[in-house]
């Protein structure tokens, strides 16, 4: 028994160590942003079902930065083919990619991630600024140049133009990808505008701690984390008519009969203003393709083409249903053309 076990062990080790060089990969490997993950998952699954001559791509999560780092590790079968990212690749990252031999990178924009603030349809019009959101919802705000626990209880204490409502906001929970946009584009921006960042630094915090302090949300029950989907937020607003909820743009548009949307910095959110980049609380979502792998990894080109097809990222597609803001028709067409022509960064 001992000798068979030993034999099996030796064989296992031998297989393990010889395998690396021998096997050709027949499965696309994707890594990166957890915001893009649900979209990439839907596309990967549908791709695997539609093309049964290709295997379903493997999609790892782990964040944009980690994904791009893996992506830039080099060219070859044991490196990933695609990096999902919820931000454009940085020039330093492109440099490190080049240093590792990943010279030709194709950028693909899949659409936008946009969040809106909405209140019950019967309420007054809302015009918000990031600063208002910060002052109403941050854990600590600036009073007389110092950070103190947030004393505001009503919206009109934050900004006299806002109604005399108790602060009750239903915001995406920490598990949500949109939470990042909320933190980055509203709390952090508002924090800078209100002087919170400086006050935090003056209070002896380093850069990182100051940024973290800016995006900390108050925990006294006035800002409620919603971990479910937007329908839960909608139900909360229905039961509390003076509540403010955060929704995906697509969800708001489907429920425009019940919700009134707030402007941010004076811009009304819409597919147009988001796609043009005017509406501040949105960001484009990308993935990056290693050109050297096209034609080497089976199905890679088909996968990208399939992703860019209107049946995936169009206005009436599964991804739009899940919350992606489709880019305007012309921009989608442009993305397809750019990919087909092999344009690299």
């Amino acid at each position: 028994m001992k000798s068979t076990l030993l034999g099996a062990s030796v064989a296992a080790l031998a297989i393990a160590l010889s395998a690396g060089a021998a096997s050709a990969r027949d499965q696309i490997q994707v890594a990166g942003s957890s915001t893009v993950l649900p979209y990439a998952k839907i596309v990967a699954e549908t791709f695997g079902e539609t093309f049964n001559n290709f295997k379903t791509p493997v999609v790892e999560s782990g964040g944009s930065g980690a994904g791009i780092k893996e992506f830039c590790r080099g060219v070859g079968e044991n490196t990933i083919d695609i990096a999902n990212s919820s931000r454009p690749i940085k020039s330093t990252e492109v440099e490190s990619c080049k240093a590792a031999g990943v010279t030709d990178i194709q950028e693909v924009k899949i659409g936008y991630d946009g969040i809106v603030f909405a209140t019950d349809i019967a309420g007054p019009d809302w015009a918000l600024k990031p600063e208002d959101i910060y002052k109403a919802l941050a854990a600590q705000v600036v009073v007389d140049g110092k950070l103190v626990a947030n004393p505001n209880t009503k919206w009109n204490q934050v900004n006299s133009a806002l109604p005399d409502w108790d602060i009750a906001a239903y915001i995406p929970g920490e598990k949500h990808g949109t939470r990042e946009v909320f933190e980055e584009k509203l709390l952090h921006k508002g924090c800078e505008a209100a002087g919170g960042l400086e006050a935090a630094k003056a209070g002896g915090l380093d850069e990182k701690a100051a940024n973290a302090a800016c995006i900390a949300v108050r925990k006294d029950g006035k800002a409620v984390d919603i971990d479910g989907d937007y329908s839960e937020t909608l139900a909360r607003i229905a039961s509390n008519k003076t509540g403010v909820g955060v929704f995906g743009l697509a969800f708001y548009e489907n429920n425009a009969d019940k919700l009134k949307v707030a402007t941010v910095d004076g811009i009304t959110p819409s597919v147009d203003t988001i796609a043009k980049g005017e509406y501040p609380v949105s960001r484009p979502l990308f993935f990056y393709v290693k050109k050297a792998h096209l034609g080497v990894i089976p199905g890679l080109k088909e996968y990208v083409d399939f992703f860019l097809d209107d049946q995936m990222i169009g206005p009436d597609s599964p991804l739009a249903e899940y919350g992606l803001v489709s880019a305007p028709d012309a921009e989608r067409e442009e993305q397809r053309k750019a990919f087909d022509s092999g344009k690299t960064m």
């Binding site: 062990s9 297989i15 490997q29 957890s34 649900p38 479910g228 019940k258």
Partner: protein, 439 residues
């Protein structure tokens, strides 16, 4: 305290004095300690009970799934409207199969689906898995086109949740994911017996999916199995060999002491560090494929090795020296002594240590994160070189899903993992009981 003289007189007088030995106080202390002990045990038990109750009460429904049996007519006008299947067989692959199921459902309900709103209601009732299911039937036997046969189609996750009573149907229609019309259909089909719950085999056989109703642990179970196999085949022989050498053959020098200290330290290293090591060594240096269970297995082997070495050495030390002396005295070589006498006697301890090490490895996610095993993998891996996930990884992935129906699947997955762990610990106990020798 008292002087000798007075104590002498006391002895002479009558009964010896009772020294104050704090009997009462000591008994009270013991009673208090017992109460503390019982409290500590009950706190542990209460937490365990609460955890098991919440997991099982939320998760047991994941093992059943709602399906509806429909007489599907494989209508050539839907599957192949231009009659091109002779010339272009790929047409059969991309046909609109869900439409067949929706049509069959509409007919079953005696309802005409002629506008978009009604179609959407029908589409929301049935799972999109019907596409693959019906396509596979047609691809396997194209002669089915034009005939009618009963097919069991899964309902969508929302209908499944509603049928299991997990969606509050008292809230206004607009606030829930199932419409009143769909609930009416569901009740009607259920009365007719067409719609019912059945055992959810897909939970064990399917890979990951973005649709809750077709999501399963298949990839994770296979991946975990491969990894455990690799850990067993690599870590057990290496660990046992190392400990036998260190315990029975190696001279006791400063150097072997250093090795011993290092092995003990290694057992306490956080598992994420092994993940980093695995990425650097196995993926980047040896060029093994990312996300593959072979890399996961090797990383977990590194992690389990110290545990196995420590357990094996303890088991070897526990074998009485008289056995060794007797073997050597009868003329056995050191190697014969070890392999004929010491090792068989130490085996139960070694196996117990190994199984406990394996159980710990089975529950690890952190080292797998860096080697790409925390991923969406839909295809069941056929060899350890294919991408795979692991049981705890699948639990982690489902915990991050937004859909309601993943909540019960999450708890169901935890139940599966707990059953695996319990089975392993039980095996360890049985082995120990069976082979244990006392001297």
């Amino acid at each position: 305290m008292t002087d000798i003289a007075s104590s002498g007189t006391l002895i002479d007088a009558k009964a010896p004095p009772r020294r104050d030995i704090g009997l009462k106080r000591r008994y009270a202390a013991e009673r208090r300690f017992r109460i503390y002990g019982i409290l500590a045990v009950s706190v542990g038990l209460v937490f365990l009970a609460v955890m098991l109750f919440s997991i099982i009460s939320q998760g047991y429904t994941a093992f059943s799934q709602t399906a509806v049996t429909l007489p599907i007519t494989f209508d050539p006008a839907v599957i192949d409207p231009k009659n091109e299947r002779e010339s272009d067989p790929t047409k059969l692959q991309t046909a609109n199969y869900p439409a067949l199921a929706q049509k069959a459902l509409a007919e079953k309900l005696g309802f005409a689906a002629n506008d978009r709103a009604a179609t959407r209601q029908l589409r929301g009732f049935l799972s999109d898995t019907s596409r693959v299911q019906l396509r596979d039937i047609v691809m396997a036997d194209p002669s089915v086109i034009g005939t009618t046969r009963d097919v069991e189609i899964l309902t969508s996750a929302n209908i499944d949740s509603a049928f299991k009573g997990q969606i509050d149907l008292d809230v206004p229609e607009a606030n829930r994911k199932v419409s009143d019309q769909q609930v009416g259909w569901m009740r009607k089909l259920s009365e007719e017996g067409a719609l019912a719950t059945r055992f959810n085999t897909g939970l064990f056989t399917n890979g990951a999916s973005s649709r809750p109703e077709s999501a399963g642990m298949g990839v994770a179970i296979v991946g975990s199995f491969y990894m455990m196999l690799i850990v067993l085949l690599v870590a057990l022989p290496v660990g046992v060999a190392a400990s036998i050498y260190l315990e029975e053959f190696a001279p006791k020098t400063k150097f072997t002491d250093l090795i011993e200290v290092n092995i003990n330290n290694l057992a306490a290293v956080p598992s994420i560090v092994f993940g980093l090591l695995g990425l650097a060594v196995f993926v980047n240096f040896f060029g093994l494929p990312r996300s593959a269970s072979v890399v996961g297995g090797l990383v977990l082997t590194l992690m389990t090795l110290p545990t196995i070495i420590i357990a094996t050495r303890a088991a070897l030390v526990a074998v009485p020296p008289s056995i060794r002396s007797a073997a050597l005295g009868l003329g056995a070589s050191r190697m014969q002594m070890v392999f004929h006498h010491v090792l068989p006697l130490a085996m139960p301890g070694i196996l117990t240590g190994t199984i406990i090490g394996l159980a710990r490895a089975l529950g690890e996610t952190a080292p797998l994160l860096l080697i790409g095993m925390v991923a969406f993998v839909a295809d069941i891996p056929s060899t350890p070189l294919d991408p795979a996930t692991a049981l705890p990884v699948q639990i982690y992935m489902w915990a991050n899903e937004a859909e309601r129906a993943f909540v019960e699947r999450l708890s169901g997955a935890i139940i599966i993992l707990l059953i695996f762990l319990m089975a392993m610990n039980l095996t360890a106990i049985i082995l120990r009981r069976k082979f244990e020798r006392r001297w």
